[in-house]
């Protein structure tokens, strides 16, 4: 199809394999002896370029200072610093999500403490090459989404643009400010045996990794402060400051009022940590698609206090997922109408929608020609030798040498490419050949690369491992700027050729050093700038409000479940007829009504069989697969915590993780004793108390805390009322042992004893746990707290009779009018008493209240598609 297109514009490929010409080695005297200690243990791969050592086995000059510093550390000292680095990684919660890892969402980030050092003159030439390349790629994008001169004049084959899923047709002809498509750009570099740097891949869709590079820097500079200082390492902050101000400049509205947000696909994305980290560092709100809405072709953030205009969206969502209306209509990550808002010029996307186009390796062979055509310069930084099979000559060359190359999809696709690490057998080669011949446009072939090696700290010594370097650029008002540093990715094995964080690679910091002391920049404060003091925190996206509300509900659900189960276990006595079950019946009924022990009252056989009954209780604690079990509630809790991770402290996060760990342990077919279980329940309750304590003491009294607390209060009221209702229904309602159990569950036994010397009676107990507004565990207390929160919240959307405020007011009035003493006349049947009616009515009110909160503050419902006309 593109055969007609062999216009000979493919440029000659320069293979990376060349005879090994070494960089000038260092003045050996300067660091004499350095190579004999630590580095002596380091096995060098003879054919690869080693970053640390010259071909003579002596350290390269720019490593002199670092290596001599490392030499001064004893092995235990080095180990201690490595351990510190691991601890810092853990404490900062630096994680990377590995897809399909059964161990769950978060995997700790792997960081080797020894940085890669890049010499000043080498960096300068890299910088120039990278800036040229970013400028070039941006120009190609501008042409492809503009008048397509390159296709018309046959510099680009139509297939390279139109056959790519990354060419977004709805964006064709849409203007972007300053013709800037690439606000950020990253490239993976590798160094060949002759010491030259080559671009392995371009990242233009979502250039990730700058946040990890920053995190690596913070850790590495803290564990190696002396060499960091002595080497005059360029700081990274200046790069981020420039990027930040460039983004602010883009805003269609005047700067100052401009709002930049970072759009994330959510906590399950592999680089969610980085997104949250960068958003916090740059001061942008991290939002999901459902937090944004389009009104009149403008983009707004949905907050509890109303809509707030958004000017710039730094996106971490693939562009085709950004708008279910005009792009992929199965996307649930995007914002309907976003493309139209972009078209109207009311919002700027960074990177521009559609910019993934030029990260296809199919462009690589054409870059030298395009560079001369578009920039009038020679391409400074070469790409790894690449052949696009859509070209006739390239294709026949590739087919003749198929086994020597890495063949991969030219475009983003679901094509299964052969594993580059494994040589292909005859049948596989034939199969691959057939594929390439049938659909040549979809394949590129690349030269196999011998990566350079760098030393990592391993088993007390150093070991050489293959590395690649990812570098980052940002578009500023004065053209592209390169981050002085980068993310070094380290192969897990010595012969590795391909490095992927998904496959267990490690990482390093990269130090770009300077001959002279460097300027100190920080984003944390701008000296002399007037800081606008802010106190509100009242622009919580409604999705997060929803999550906090449920975080509160689930934490209290776990608390109540644990208390009820603990009391039931403690009171269950197999020695007694029926296990003393009638006295814990209200507890069990509460658990039944709330879903922890479904259908228990319909299983009279459990009453007879103590063992089966105990097993049932234990399952309600530990079985993660059982809906409503304490374990599944804790799982829920952790999932919710993930959703609000960037709004809660690390301590709160840790407490919840531990909660889960504790409940997870005994599933390994251990026969559990009730005694062990109560121990776990006690620990769970302490963990939850820690969580609530942290929430109470550490969260500002802004909307996030309010919704957390509202959830907690509402859930507590539900459990309380359910228990009180079940108690009044019990024929043993007046039995002091039962009332004692109720007091225990609601943690009010001590208060009761201090007030009454008598055995518990219904009026006294109900006065304390239903009506006493000083008892933080009473129903009225919860209702009063909810009312207080409502006063501080922005008005509900509708002021209907069913509004939260009204529902609450009625409920409160009913409780306030109730006086337990007047109800104290002995009743034959408490179940028919006025007291029971009050409890029942309150219980019926609570779900309405929950609905009202959801309707009033959490606006979201499923997105449906407008039906389509049927054709005849």
């Amino acid at each position: 199809m593109s055969d007609a297109d062999n216009s000979g514009k493919i440029r000659e490929q320069t293979p990376m394999f060349q005879s090994q010409t070494q960089l000038p080695s260092m003045d050996a005297a300067a660091v004499k002896g350095a190579a004999e200690g630590l580095l002596a243990s380091c096995q060098q791969n003879a054919s690869a370029f080693d970053e640390f050592l010259g071909v003579d086995g002596r350290p390269r000059p720019h490593y002199a200072k670092l290596l001599s510093a490392l030499e001064n550390f004893t092995a235990p000292e080095l180990r201690r610093r490595r351990d510190t680095s691991e601890r810092l990684v853990h404490e900062q919660g630096i994680t990377y999500h590995v897809y399909g890892d059964p161990r769950g969402v978060e995997r700790p980030w792997q960081l080797d403490p020894i940085p890669l050092v890049i010499a000043p003159e080498e960096w300068r030439s890299l910088e120039a090459g990278l800036i040229q390349r970013a400028t070039l790629l941006n120009k190609i994008l501008a042409d492809c989404y503009g008048n397509q001169e390159l296709i018309r004049s046959r510099w680009l084959s139509p297939a390279m643009v139109f056959a790519q899923p990354d060419f977004l047709r709805p964006l064709h002809g849409v203007k972007v400010p300053n013709d800037t498509f690439l606000h950020f750009y990253a490239a993976d570099l590798a160094r060949s045996p002759d010491g030259r740097w080559w671009v392995m891949s371009d990242r233009t869709q979502i250039p990730t990794g700058a946040g990890y590079a920053l995190a690596n820097r913070l850790v590495t500079s803290r564990i190696l402060p002396e060499p960091f200082r002595d080497n005059h390492v360029h700081r990274l902050a200046g790069f981020f400051r420039d990027a930040q101000s460039a983004l602010a400049q883009l805003a269609p509205r005047q700067a100052g009022t401009a709002r930049v947000v970072m759009l994330t696909p959510g906590p399950h994305n592999e680089t969610y940590f980085e997104q949250a980290y960068l958003a916090r560092y740059l001061g942008y709100m991290l939002v999901e698609g459902q937090d944004l809405t389009v009104r009149d072709n403008q983009v707004f953030l949905k907050t509890l206090s109303g809509l707030e205009r958004v000017d710039v969206i730094l996106r971490r969502v693939d562009d085709d997922f950004c708008d279910p209306l005009e792009l992929r209509n199965d996307s649930i990550l995007g914002v309907p109408g976003l493309v139209e808002a972009v078209r109207a010029g009311n919002v700027v996307m960074a990177n521009a929608l559609g910019s993934g186009l030029v990260q296809s390796p199919a462009f690589m062979p054409f870059l030298p020609g395009l560079c001369e055509r578009l920039l009038g310069e020679k391409l400074k930084l070469p790409s790894v030798a690449t052949w696009w099979c859509g070209q006739k000559d390239a294709r026949s060359y590739v087919l003749d040498h198929l086994g020597e190359f890495v063949v991969k999809p030219a475009f983003r696709s679901h094509l299964r490419a052969p594993d580059p690490e494994k040589p292909l057998n005859k049948a596989e080669l034939a199969e691959l050949k057939r594929h390439v011949e049938f659909d040549p446009d979809l394949f590129v072939a690349q030269e196999r690369v011998e990566l350079s090696t760098a030393s990592i700290f391993e088993n007390g010594g150093l070991a050489a491992r293959p590395i690649t370097l990812r570098v980052f650029l940002a578009a500023t008002e004065r053209g592209f700027r390169v981050m002085p540093g980068g993310l070094v990715r380290v192969s897990p094995d010595a012969g590795g050729k391909f490095i992927s964080m998904q496959h267990g690679g490690s990482s390093k910091d990269a130090w770009v050093i300077s001959e002279t002391p460097v300027e100190e920049v920080t984003l944390l404060h701008t000296a002399g700038a007037n800081v606008e003091l802010r106190r509100t925190g009242n622009n919580l996206p409604s999705r997060l409000a929803d999550n906090f509300f449920w975080l509160g509900r689930y934490s209290e659900r776990a608390d109540a479940t644990a208390r009820l189960l603990r009391s039931a276990l403690l009171r269950f006595n197999p020695e007694r007829a029926g296990g003393g079950r009638s006295l814990i019946a209200p507890l069990l009924q509460t658990l039944e009504a709330q879903g922890q022990l479904p259908g228990i009252s319909a299983k009279p056989e459990l009453l007879q069989n103590a063992e089966a009954f105990e097993a049932e209780l234990l399952a309600a604690i530990f079985d993660p697969a059982r809906t409503g079990s304490l374990h599944s509630t804790a799982d829920h809790l952790q999932r919710l915590a993930t959703q609000v991770r960037d709004r809660t402290s690390n301590d709160m996060w840790r407490v919840l993780s531990q909660l889960n760990d504790r409940l997870a342990t005994p599933t390994s077919s251990l026969v559990l004793l009730a005694g062990d279980a109560t121990g776990v329940l006690n620990e769970t309750l302490i963990g939850l108390a820690a969580f609530h304590g942290l929430a109470r003491e550490n969260m500002t009294r802004a909307q996030a805390w309010r919704f957390l607390d509202m959830g907690l209060r509402l859930e507590r009221a539900v459990y309380l009322c359910t228990l009180l209702e079940a108690t009044l229904r019990s024929p043993d309602a007046e039995n002091p042992s039962l009332l004692e159990a109720v007091l225990e569950v609601v943690d009010s036994r001590i208060t009761f004893r201090s007030r009454y010397t008598l055995l518990p009676s219904v009026p006294a107990v109900f006065d304390l746990v239903l009506l006493d507004d000083k008892n933080p565990r009473s129903v009225l207390f919860q209702i009063n707290q909810l009312a207080k929160h409502f006063e501080k919240l922005p008005p509900e959307r509708e002021d209907a009779p069913g509004s939260g405020k009204n529902v609450l007011a009625k409920c409160r009035a009913r409780l306030n009018q109730t006086d337990a003493r007047e109800l104290a006349a002995p009743h034959d049947a408490w179940r028919n008493s006025e007291l029971a009616a009050v409890v029942r009515e309150t219980l019926e009110t609570l779900p309405k209240l929950s609905d009202a909160i959801a309707a009033g503050y959490f606006a979201h419902s499923e997105i449906s598609r407008t039906g389509r006309g049927t054709e005849q």
Partner: protein
């Protein structure tokens, strides 16, 4: 011929929905052989409309309705004058060798590839080869393919839906105009003849309705309309709305909203000749 076209679509939702964002492709294209004298789009609840031309030169009208609404009415009124070129004779007009130049014509590339509902499978290729066996002229091959598709598929109302893929059509050998158009598009592309899907109206139908056909590119003669459902070249009773790689590029109404999926849809199309 001059026609007034009224196309009214009404959605009635089981419960009010909100945040509705929609793209409407109902404005007939001004193309050689077709002049659009007027076009009027009404949306209820009333809202602001914006419009733009997409990659394939279709006019798209965009609107949003934020407030809760129980129903949505979209009404398009067009007045169109059709004056198509005479049908091409069934004789040798374009050799396959000449057809090979087609990809060099701008924007033909998309119309030679597989797309959302059209596949270029070995099966499709074989079917196309068999249907054109012994024919050495591209134009004659196109006519043969049209005849073949017309006979190969059985027209059966409601046997397929708007998301039916060409491969299913090939398997089940039945469908509606959209499926006829998709299949013939795929067969043409298998023989490296650029083909694009067209949505529009057919004025002769007893109950006038939306219709679908295709256009093929014949070097020297431009894009020519063919209707495999009726095995004929497109004439003055055909009113073209827009074109694309397949149905996915030109659905009359597409969009999404927040709220219940449950809804009723009523479509009314009225085409009146104006004398």
């Amino acid at each position: 011929m001059k026609y007034d076209v009224l196309h009214r679509t009404r959605y009635i939702y089981a419960s009010p929905v909100r945040d509705s964002f929609n793209d409407v492709r109902l404005q007939p294209m001004p193309v050689p052989g077709q002049a659009v004298e007027s076009f009027l789009l009404k949306v209820l609840p009333a809202t602001r409309l914006t419009h733009f031309k997409d990659f394939y030169s279709n006019w798209i009208h965009h609107f949003e309705i934020i407030e809760p609404h129980g129903s949505l009415t979209i009404e398009a009124q067009s007045r169109v004058v059709t004056n198509p070129p005479a049908p091409l004779p069934a004789e040798r007009l374009c050799s396959f060798a000449r057809m090979k130049e087609a990809p060099n014509v701008e924007r033909c590339f998309d119309y030679l590839q597989a797309s959302r509902f059209v596949e270029l499978s070995p099966e499709a290729w074989k079917l196309a080869l068999d249907a054109t066996d012994g024919i050495d002229d591209a134009w004659l091959a196109i006519l043969a393919l049209m005849k073949f598709v017309h006979g190969f598929l059985k027209y059966e109302t409601a046997s397929t839906h708007v998301h039916t893929h060409m491969s299913e059509v090939m398997r089940d050998r039945r469908g509606v105009c959209q499926d006829f158009a998709h299949l013939m598009t795929g067969l043409c592309r298998s023989l490296k003849i650029p083909a694009r899907y067209v949505s529009g109206y057919l004025a002769t139908e007893a109950a006038s309705a939306t219709h679908a056909w295709l256009e093929v590119f014949v070097p020297g003669h431009g894009w020519r309309g063919l209707d495999p459902t009726h095995n004929c070249q497109v004439g003055e009773t055909y009113i073209k709305i827009g074109n694309g790689r397949d149905y996915a590029d030109v659905p009359p109404i597409s969009g999404n909203y927040r709220g219940t999926r449950e809804h009723k849809m009523e479509v009314e199309v009225k085409i009146t000749p104006v004398f």
